[in-house]
């Protein structure tokens, strides 16, 4: 067995969540089964991914806007290799344009069993990872 296969065998099933002050509100909402995104109180721009500062006006005060979870597929990939722990092979990851105008990337449930077309409607569903960490996936409407 090579050094790399060794490390692969030893790798934990799900890597521990990496978050920071800037992502707390996002993941806090996900745990409540809500999609919330920071909206700048200065200029009104909606921000994703979360960050410490509004890139449009450099404001640092936000409200966490509740979002609908409705989206349209913007791009995607069907992943065949390497196989990933906790995901089927093949599995589909979708980049979607959310109704509110920002893009969000998430796994597409049963993506290998449906016909995929850019522009198709998707909705966000809340799920739990194998280690119990709250997460989210897209499903086709």
């Amino acid at each position: 067995m090579s050094r790399n296969e060794d490390r692969r065998a030893q790798a934990g099933p799900v890597p521990p969540k990496v978050s920071s002050y800037d992502f707390e509100a996002f993941y806090g909402a996900i745990a409540q089964h809500e999609l919330r995104m920071p909206r700048c109180l200065g200029c009104g721009a909606l921000q994703h991914p979360p960050g410490p500062m509004c890139p449009e006006c450099n404001g640092m005060a936000f409200e966490q806007q509740l979002c609908s979870g409705r989206a349209r597929l913007y791009s995607y990939t069907v992943i065949h290799h390497p196989p990933l722990y906790g995901f089927p092979t093949p599995h589909v990851v979708a980049l979607a344009e959310m109704e509110e105008g920002f893009r969000l990337l998430a796994g597409l449930v049963d993506g290998d069993r449906i016909e995929i077309e850019i522009g198709m409607p998707l909705t966000l569903r809340f799920v739990e990872q194998e280690d119990g960490v709250p997460s989210y996936r897209f499903v086709a409407e």
């Binding site: 994703h48 990939t77 599995h91 990851v93 893009r103 990337l105």
Partner: protein, 387 residues
């Protein structure tokens, strides 16, 4: 301070490119650096500057000790993996032009195949760039460079009408050039469109034959002033321009949130600077070495560098357009898909050989060669020219 043509590449060196070098990364580095210095006719004692990659595991102190170097007055590094290759040229040229150092060696040496492989799922990598963002993608099952690029290139196909056959033309050109290059991993192994279309999917729309090699090897080159270069052993290869670029929304392999997610914006920023600084245009470029972490990404890069309009790369590459004898020979060494993957530094060597007139797939008259770093990440590039 105007940097154009102040510094030149005067020596190049490399190890063999393999899947298992059987020796340390420090040894690969010292072999490549020694070869580059011998090529230049410069003693290690005369080297006073280093530039390498943040990702390179060899430390300046160890390399200096191994080579018996004396006084080093400048040592820098460039981040962003394959985005760094042109950045090393920029740093070295700046060091030479400002007097921070007189003779700078740039290197990249790694056991990328037999050691830590970059293509592994990110969940199993020991270091994650932008850790919060990377975990956000890992937790959704987006974990390899190929899958990141696949999301960007799927949208490119949708917007431009590019097909898998078009992607195949990039792979065929690279493998055709590699087949003739004895240093290439795929020496003597050209492929057909049938081979390409039958290649197993990795992250659709990308297949195995779109992916660069995983390579053990070392590459180095030597930069000094153009004035001094005239008296050295080799025909000087002038650095007409070198530049780096991050554009709004450029993020490591995940430019998902900008208007155009194809890996194009940062290459455009680099190309625009290169032309402006060198007073050249895309028409002046005789050969292009375009970073191919994934072959299909060459298409948006050709557009970003002004060789064709947005969305027209598929026409530009038809009928052997980027093959030897075509209107713009691209990756004449076989690229990283065909020769080897040393984070684009082997491409810099090919650019130098083309200007010198010593490439295995030599283009007839070469005055200017474009060489670029990885697209879809903070990147860089250079134009190298004959005296």
């Amino acid at each position: 301070m105007e940097l154009s043509r102040k510094a030149s590449i005067v020596g190049i060196g490399q190890t063999e490119f393999s899947k298992n070098s059987g020796r340390s990364e420090l040894r690969l580095c010292t072999e490549a650096v020694t070869a580059a210095l011998a090529d230049a006719g410069i003693s290690p004692h005369d080297v006073d500057g280093f530039v390498s990659f943040c990702m390179d595991n060899n430390t300046e102190g160890e390399v200096a000790r191994a080579l018996g170097m004396r006084d080093l007055t400048y040592f820098g590094r460039v981040d962003q993996g394959g985005g760094a290759c042109g950045g090393t040229i920029l740093q070295a040229a700046m060091a030479v032009a400002t007097g921070a150092a007189r003779t700078v060696v740039c290197w990249r040496a790694m056991n990328e195949r037999s050691g830590a492989r970059f293509g592994q799922p990110s969940a199993q990598l020991q270091v994650m760039p932008d850790p919060e963002l990377t975990w956000m993608y890992v937790s959704q099952g987006l974990q390899s460079a190929a899958s990141y690029m696949a999301v960007m290139m799927r949208r490119y196909m949708y917007e431009t009408g590019a097909t898998r056959e078009d992607f195949g033309r990039i792979a065929l050109a690279a493998r055709k050039h590699a087949a003739i290059n004895p240093h290439a991993w795929f020496h003597g192994q050209p492929i057909s469109m049938e081979d390409y279309l039958a290649s197993r999917p990795i992250a659709e729309p990308l297949c195995l034959l779109d992916c660069c090699q995983e390579t053990d090897g070392g590459v180095a080159f030597v930069i000094t002033s153009t004035q001094r270069a005239r008296d050295l052993r080799q025909k000087p290869v002038l650095i007409s321009a070198a530049a780096q670029g991050i554009r709004k929304g450029t993020n490591a392999m995940a430019c998902f949130y900008r208007a155009d997610i194809s890996p194009r914006d940062e290459v455009r920023l680099v190309g625009d600077q290169l032309y402006a600084k060198s007073n050249l245009t895309s028409d002046d470029i005789d050969v292009a070495i375009i970073y191919d972490h994934f072959g299909p990404s060459v298409m948006p890069a050709l557009e970003a560098l002004g060789f064709c309009e947005y969305g027209e790369a598929k026409d530009f590459i038809r009928d052997g357009g980027i093959e030897l004898g075509g209107h713009l020979p691209v990756n004449t060494h076989g690229g990283q898909v065909g020769e080897g993957y040393i984070h684009g530094m082997n491409g810099v060597l090919e650019a130098v050989r083309q200007v010198r007139g010593t490439a295995i797939n030599q283009v007839e008259t070469v005055n200017h060669v474009m060489v670029t770093g990885a697209s879809g990440v903070p990147t860089s590039g250079a134009i190298l020219s004959a005296l």
